[in-house]
Symmetry: C2
Subunit: 208 residues, 2 copies
């Protein structure tokens, strides 16, 4: 941005000087070429559009993960005199954290869409792109933390742990485990898409 | 940065023109000024040096986390006729993953030091900085995943879970739990340092 602004100033100067002085004429042509490139946006606009598409994909996948986990509950078809056997995501604090974290990720992805659109409209704007990289990185950490911790619990639910005397609960609550596993997979898909977004945005910053 | 440079150019040009000299002579001075600025590196070199310091701090913290977790074992002072009660990190697959992941992070941080030094020597080189941002982001995901999953298990070991009938094991294995918790905290410290590194490197890319 700033570079092109200072270039514009030069153009005005050379135009004035062209009337009287010959030697500066040579610099005018490349400056115009740069301005055409600037107006077109070039590969930067393509990257910005791709970034928006990835953002929508990440939103869908994060929303899927949050909803799948939040609606996970299973009531077993048999019960004793005193209580019915049922499993819900909020029985496990890790799954509650997962739902909250994925809800934050979904909200962030919605709020970040305007910034992504600014990057398409003004492909050479540096500040919105930089903001997106920084916050995307923080969101990657949040999503991976939620996905990793939920994965650890899902693994435990599937396999149990003999040394700690924790029994697998998936034999009883099969549907519950499958939905939770699906949510974890969706969260990891979100992480991969977010990583791709940061890599793309960083490479777009480069060609300034 | 660039705005002030272009201002300088204007000033120099007007000074030269005031003396009545040929216009091309005037452009020589700002070019030299730009080269001096370029050689000095300015704030970019400062950021690169800070990046190296943060990298060493992250290395220390990741190494601490890996070693603390890998040496975590506790043998209880009482035993039955058939077996002795002991807990080790490899009883829990999540802790094994934690140790492996943190070892990878430590190895990456050592291997990335030369790239960080290249950024100090050549503050305006874009490719090594971009590579660092991209790989740092991937390593953030790995570290957070390991830290998050280990945190979920440590939480379970401390508090247990009544609904899943998993009992807390920290009453028996107090030292084991404390060391594991310490390792998780060190891993999260590593994540914070890595986040800071990415934010710094991205802002250094900006002023190109």
């Amino acid at each position: 941005m700033e570079k092109s602004e200072s270039t514009k100033i030069d153009v005005v100067e050379t135009n004035k000087e062209r009337k009287g002085k010959a030697p500066l004429l040579g610099t005018a042509a490349p400056v115009v070429a740069t301005q055409v490139e600037h107006a077109k946006g070039g590969p930067k606009r393509g990257i910005a559009i791709f970034d928006l598409i990835l953002r929508i994909a990440a939103f869908a996948s994060a929303l899927g993960a949050a909803v799948a986990m939040a609606t996970t509950e299973e009531t077993l078809p048999f019960f004793t005199q005193f209580f019915q056997f049922e499993a819900s995501y909020d029985d496990l604090p890790t799954f509650t954290f997962f739902v909250v974290a994925m809800a934050i990720v979904v909200a962030y992805l919605v709020l970040s869409v305007p910034f992504s659109i600014v990057c398409i409209v003004r492909p050479h704007a540096v500040v919105p792109r930089l903001l997106l990289i920084i916050f995307d990185t923080v969101i990657i950490a949040l999503t991976t933390g939620a996905a990793g911790s939920a994965a650890a619990i899902v693994y435990l639910a599937h396999n149990g742990n003999q040394d700690a005397n924790w029994l697998a609960i998936c034999q009883q609550f099969g549907d519950f485990c499958q939905r939770a596993s699906g949510a974890v997979v969706a969260a990891f898909v979100t992480v991969v898409i977010l990583l791709l977004m940061v890599v793309l945005s960083a490479s777009a910053l480069r060609r300034h």
